[in-house]
C-alpha cells in the first residue's frame, strides 16, 4: 500500500516504546497503542504516525481504532489516571463517597464501568504511565485512603470465601496453591489432565468433553464439545484458539479470580483445547483493567514455556506445538463479543461481525477459531482427570458440572462461590451470609446487566440453565447481585442504561441510538419528568427494547433492554412513578 502519513514525528520515548515491540504488521496495532499509552500516558499525532509507518497502517484507521478504547487518550493528559468504578456493585457500596472524596482532594478521576472487583467494592484503579507503567487497584476504596499515593496502594491477596473448603473443584487451588509456581501447581494435580489428553488423542478429548455435557460459562451456554468438534472438522488446517478473558459484564469477577489464583490451570486447559482442535496458536484476550491478572498470567505462560509445557513438542509429544499470546484489551466491553474480539486482535475496531459465517468456520484472521471463556476452559482439566461420567454426576442432568457465581451487592460475604448446578438461589445467598443485618432483600440481579431481576419470593429457583430459562431468567455470566430494601432501584436501572449506551460500539442503529433513547426515557421516568408530547414512556421503552432485541447485530444490543424489562415486569419497578 502506498500510504500517506502525517507530518508529525514521535518523541524519543514514544519511538522507543514502539520500536521495542520489534517488527510487526496490522495485528500489532493494539499492543503498539498500549506501548505508547503506557509509556507517556497518551497517544500523540507523532506517536500514532510512527506506529502507522512501522505497521503499514493508514493513520486514519489507526485513529479510528485508538479512539474506540476508553483506556487510550488522544489528547495530552497527566501520566497518572484514576478510574473510579461507579457501576452496579460499587454503586450500592458507596462509590459516590469515593468520587466525592476525589473531588474534595482535587484529584482528577474518570468514571469507570465495572472494574471486576465487586467482592471488594467500591474500587478505584490507578494507571501511572512510565517505564515500566504501573496499574494499581484500591479495593475497597475508602474516602480516607484514596488520597494516599497510588504507589502505596496495596492489593489484598486473591481469596475466595470458600477457600480451601471441601468439595471445591474449580476453586480448589485458589488462595491455597502459590499461583506463581509451576511446581506447586503440578504438586496439586496440575498437568495430569494434559497427560491424559495426549493419551486419548484429539478425537478422544472432544468425545470426553462432548459427553461431559459442558456448556459455555461466558453467558451463551453453547455446548463446548460441539464447538470444538465443528472447528476440528474444518478442512482449513490453520486454526486458532481464543480464550475470552475480557470479563466486563458488570458484577462479574470470576475469571479474574481464576486467573489470579490458578493461572496454570488456564494455560493447561488451553493447551488441551488446542490439542483437541488442532490449533497452533492461542490468544488470551484479557481485559485491560486487570493489571494483576496480566502479571500472574504472563508469568505462568513464561514459566510453562521454559519448562516445555508450551512451545514445540509439548510434554515430549512429537509434532504437538502450541503457544499462547496475551492480548490486553483497552477498555471496551464489546470486545468480549466473540467476533468483536477477532477484530480487536487483528488491529481493527472492536465491532462485531455479522454471523454467519460462524467463528468455527471463519474466525480470527479468517481461519476456524474456537472462542471459550476462562471458566469454561478451567472445567476441561477436571473432565479429563475425573472422567466425563464423574463430571456428569455433578449438577443436574442437563446442566452438568460445577458453576461459579459472583456474589456481590448487599450481601455479607461477597465473593466468587463454587456450587454444583441446581443449587437454589436462596442457598447461594445463604452461603454469602444473606443481606446485612436488619435489611430485607428487595431483588436479585441475575446474570448481569444483560441478565434480569428476580424477586425475593423466587429464591427457590434452582440455578441451572434450563430452570433459569423456564423462569424467563438467565444465569448469564454468573452474576448474583443482591439489592436490599435501601437500594436505589431507579438509580440502579439508570446506571444499567448508561452502561449500555457507553459500551455500544455504534455500528448498528437499534443499539447506537436505541440505548440513548432508553437511557433518556428512564431518566424521565425516574425523575418524574414528562415530555410535552405526553407520550407513554413505558410503552416507548418497550418498543425500543423490542427492536434492539430483534434487530441489533450482536448480543450487546439484543440484551440491552433485558434487565430493565425484567425490573418493570417482575419487580413492578417504575410503574408507580409514571
Amino acid at each position: 500500500m502506498d500510504l500517506r502519513f502525517l507530518n508529525a514525528e514521535p518523541t524519543d520515548a514514544e519511538r522507543h516504546a514502539v520500536d521495542a515491540l520489534g517488527a510487526g504488521s496490522r495485528d500489532q496495532l493494539l499492543p503498539a497503542l498500549h506501548a505508547v499509552n503506557d509509556r507517556v500516558g497518551w497517544i500523540s499525532q507523532g506517536a500514532l504516525n510512527h506506529i502507522c509507518r512501522r505497521l503499514n497502517v493508514p493513520p486514519a484507521e489507526a485513529y479510528g481504532v485508538a479512539s474506540f478504547y476508553a483506556l487510550f487518550s488522544l489528547k495530552e493528559r497527566p501520566p497518572r489516571v484514576v478510574h473510579v468504578c461507579t457501576d452496579l456493585a460499587c454503586r450500592v457500596n458507596g462509590a459516590e463517597a469515593v468520587t466525592e472524596a476525589f473531588d474534595a482532594a482535587g484529584i482528577g478521576w474518570h468514571r469507570s464501568p465495572c472494574l471486576g472487583v465487586c467482592e471488594r467494592a467500591p474500587a478505584a484503579l490507578a494507571f501511572e504511565a512510565g517505564d515500566p507503567a504501573e496499574g494499581r487497584l484500591l479495593a475497597p476504596a475508602t474516602p480516607s485512603e484514596i488520597t494516599r499515593e497510588p504507589s502505596t496502594w496495596e492489593e489484598a491477596p486473591v481469596s475466595v470465601p470458600q477457600q480451601g473448603g471441601p468439595g471445591l473443584r474449580l476453586l480448589r487451588r485458589v488462595g491455597v496453591v502459590e499461583p506463581e509456581s509451576l511446581d506447586a501447581y503440578r504438586a496439586a494435580g496440575g498437568y495430569a489432565a494434559l497427560r491424559n489428553a495426549l493419551l486419548l488423542g484429539p478425537a478422544g478429548v472432544i468425545r470426553e468433553v462432548t459427553d461431559s455435557g459442558l456448556m459455555g460459562r461466558g453467558g451463551a451456554a453453547f455446548p463446548t464439545g460441539r464447538k470444538w468438534d465443528a472447528a476440528a472438522r474444518q478442512p482449513e488446517r490453520t486454526r486458532y484458539l481464543v480464550c475470552n478473558a475480557d470479563e466486563s459484564e458488570p458484577g462479574t469477577f470470576k475469571d479474574r479470580v481464576l486467573i489470579e489464583g490458578d493461572p496454570f490451570a488456564l494455560v493447561e486447559a488451553m493447551t488441551i483445547a488446542a490439542f483437541a482442535i488442532g490449533a497452533q496458536k492461542g490468544y488470551v484476550y484479557l481485559r485491560g483493567e486487570y493489571p494483576r491478572a496480566l502479571k500472574t498470567l504472563r508469568n505462568a505462560i513464561d514459566v510453562a514455556r521454559e519448562r516445555g509445557f508450551l512451545g514445540e513438542n509439548i510434554m515430549g509429544r512429537q509434532g504437538f506445538s502450541f503457544d499462547i499470546e496475551i492480548r490486553r484489551g483497552a477498555g471496551a466491553y464489546i470486545c468480549g463479543e466473540e467476533t468483536a474480539i477477532f477484530n480487536s486482535i487483528e488491529g481493527y475496531r472492536g465491532e462485531p461481525r455479522s454471523k454467519p459465517p460462524f467463528p468455527v468456520e471463519k474466525g480470527l484472521f479468517g481461519k476456524p477459531t474456537v472462542v471459550n471463556n476462562v471458566e469454561t476452559l478451567v472445567n476441561i482439566p477436571l473432565i479429563l482427570t475425573e472422567g466425563c461420567e464423574a463430571y456428569r454426576r455433578i449438577g443436574t442432568e442437563r446442566s452438568t458440572g460445577p458453576k461459579l457465581f459472583c456474589l456481590s451487592g448487599n450481601v455479607r460475604r461477597p465473593g466468587v462461590y463454587e456450587v454444583p448446578f441446581g443449587t437454589t438461589l436462596g442457598e447461594l445467598l445463604e452461603l454469602a451470609g444473606g443481606v446485612p443485618e436488619g435489611r430485607e432483600l428487595r431483588a436479585v440481579l441475575l446474570g448481569g446487566a444483560a441478565g434480569g431481576f428476580v424477586r425475593p419470593d423466587e429464591t427457590t429457583l434452582p440455578l441451572t440453565m434450563e430452570d433459569a430459562r423456564a423462569a424467563g431468567a438467565t444465569l448469564g455470566s454468573g452474576v448474583v447481585l443482591a439489592l436490599d430494601d435501601q437500594a436505589d432501584l431507579g438509580g440502579f436501572l439508570v446506571r444499567i442504561a448508561a452502561f449500555f449506551r457507553d459500551e455500544s460500539c455504534g455500528q448498528c442503529v437499534p443499539c447506537r441510538i436505541g440505548t440513548v433513547r432508553q437511557e433518556e426515557a428512564l431518566h424521565r421516568i425516574v425523575g418524574g419528568r414528562k415530555l410535552g408530547t405526553g407520550g407513554d414512556d413505558l410503552a416507548l421503552l418497550r418498543e425500543v427494547g423490542q427492536v434492539m432485541r430483534d434487530s441489533s447485530i450482536c448480543g450487546l444490543g439484543q440484551t440491552a433492554w433485558n434487565a430493565i424489562e425484567s425490573a418493570i415486569d417482575r419487580l413492578g419497578a417504575l410503574e408507580e412513578r409514571s
Binding site: 500517506r4 502525517l6 486514519a60 440513548v516 431518566h523 434487530s551
Partner: protein, 307 residues
C-alpha cells in the same frame, strides 16, 4: 457494447418469500430475491457497488427459525428458507429504526425516507425535541457521556465542515452507513483518508485526529460523495446553491458522456442546471467506473464554462 462477465454457472436456490416460491442463483441475498420478485424493501446503508455494511437495519426481515430478525441485504438465500417481509415484528422494527434515525439525524436530504416514514407511521418527535447542535463531537471520549435529563433527544447535529473548495461534510446528516469509508478504503479507492472513529452514539466519520481534509490523505476523487445516501457529503457547488436557495433538481438535466482527460474512458454524468454544470457523477452500472471517478473527472470541468 457492454461486456457482461458471466462467471461460472450457478445453481439455483429455492426458498419462499411471503409464501411465494422464489428461485435465485446461489449466492444471492434475500434482498436480491425480493427485488427479483418485485418486492420493495427499503434500504439505507446498502450500496449497489459496495459490500453490505449491515449497519442501518432498515431492511430486516423474518426468517423462520432465527431468534432475531435478519438483514436481507447481506443474508444469503439458503434452500428451503422461509422468509417473511411484512410481519408485526418487521413493521415495528422498520418503524422504530426510522424513528431512531430521524430523531438523531437530519434526514431532510435523504431520498425516499420521508415516504417510508409516512408509510410505517414513524414519529421521531416522540423521543422529545431534538437537542441543539454541539461542536465537541470530534473530541468525545469513548465510554463516557454527559448524563441526560431526558427532556431533549440527543442528536448528531453539528456545524458543517467546509475546509476545501470541492466538497462539504455535513455530519449532522450522517447515518454512519460506512459507505464513504468503504469507498475510500479497500473496496475502491485505497486511499484510507477517513474512518469510523469514537464509539457508540459518539462514533463519527473522521480523518486522523479530525484533521482538516487538506491535511489528510484525501485525493478528492469524490467517490465518498457518490455513495453517500443522505447528502451528508455533497459537492461544494451543490452545497452553496442549496444555501443560496438556488438548487433546483427539477431544472436539471443529466447527460452521460465519456471523460476526456485520459484514455481509460470513464463514464461521466453531467448534471446541468441553467446551462451550467452543477455536479458530476458516474453511472454505477458502468463496467468501467462502477460509479467511481478521479479528481479530474469528478471536479475538473470548470474550463467547460469559461466562455
Amino acid at each position: 457494447m457492454t461486456i457482461v462477465g458471466l462467471g461460472l454457472p450457478r445453481r439455483l436456490v429455492e426458498f419462499t418469500v411471503d409464501g411465494e416460491a422464489v428461485r435465485v442463483p446461489e449466492g444471492s441475498t434475500i434482498l436480491d430475491a425480493c427485488a427479483a420478485a418485485g418486492k420493495d424493501i427499503p434500504t439505507l446503508c446498502f450500496g449497489d457497488t459496495l459490500e453490505p455494511a449491515n449497519a442501518c437495519r432498515v431492511c430486516m426481515v423474518e426468517v423462520e427459525g432465527s431468534r432475531t430478525l435478519v438483514p436481507s441485504c447481506s443474508r444469503k438465500a439458503e434452500p428451503g428458507m422461509v422468509v417473511r417481509t411484512e410481519t408485526d415484528r418487521t413493521r415495528l422494527s422498520r418503524k422504530v429504526v426510522l424513528e431512531l434515525l430521524g430523531s438523531a439525524t437530519d434526514l431532510s436530504t435523504t431520498p425516499d425516507v420521508a415516504g417510508w416514514m409516512a408509510e410505517c407511521g414513524a414519529e421521531p418527535e416522540r423521543f422529545g425535541p431534538p437537542a441543539p447542535a454541539s461542536d465537541d463531537r470530534d473530541d468525545r471520549r469513548p465510554g463516557e457521556h454527559e448524563i441526560p435529563d431526558g427532556l431533549t433527544a440527543a442528536t448528531v447535529r453539528q456545524p458543517v465542515k467546509v475546509d476545501n473548495e470541492l466538497y462539504v461534510r455535513d455530519y449532522g446528516k450522517c447515518i454512519q452507513c460506512y459507505k464513504c469509508v468503504d469507498a475510500c478504503g479497500e473496496q475502491w479507492q485505497n486511499t484510507f483518508a477517513i474512518t469510523m472513529a469514537g464509539r457508540g452514539f459518539d462514533a463519527r466519520i473522521s480523518t486522523e485526529f479530525a484533521n482538516p481534509l487538506p491535511d489528510s490523505a484525501c485525493v478528492y476523487c469524490g467517490n465518498c460523495v457518490e455513495v453517500c445516501p443522505t447528502g451528508a457529503l455533497s459537492f461544494k457547488r451543490e452545497h452553496d446553491k442549496r444555501e443560496a436557495g438556488t438548487w433546483d433538481e427539477s431544472r436539471q438535466t443529466a447527460t452521460t458522456t465519456i471523460c476526456t482527460f485520459c484514455g481509460v474512458g470513464c463514464s461521466l454524468t453531467l448534471h446541468v442546471q441553467d446551462n451550467e454544470i452543477v455536479k458530476v457523477t458516474s453511472p454505477h452500472e458502468s463496467s468501467v467506473t462502477h460509479g467511481n471517478l478521479c479528481i479530474k473527472g469528478r471536479f475538473g470541468w470548470q474550463h467547460v464554462q469559461n466562455r
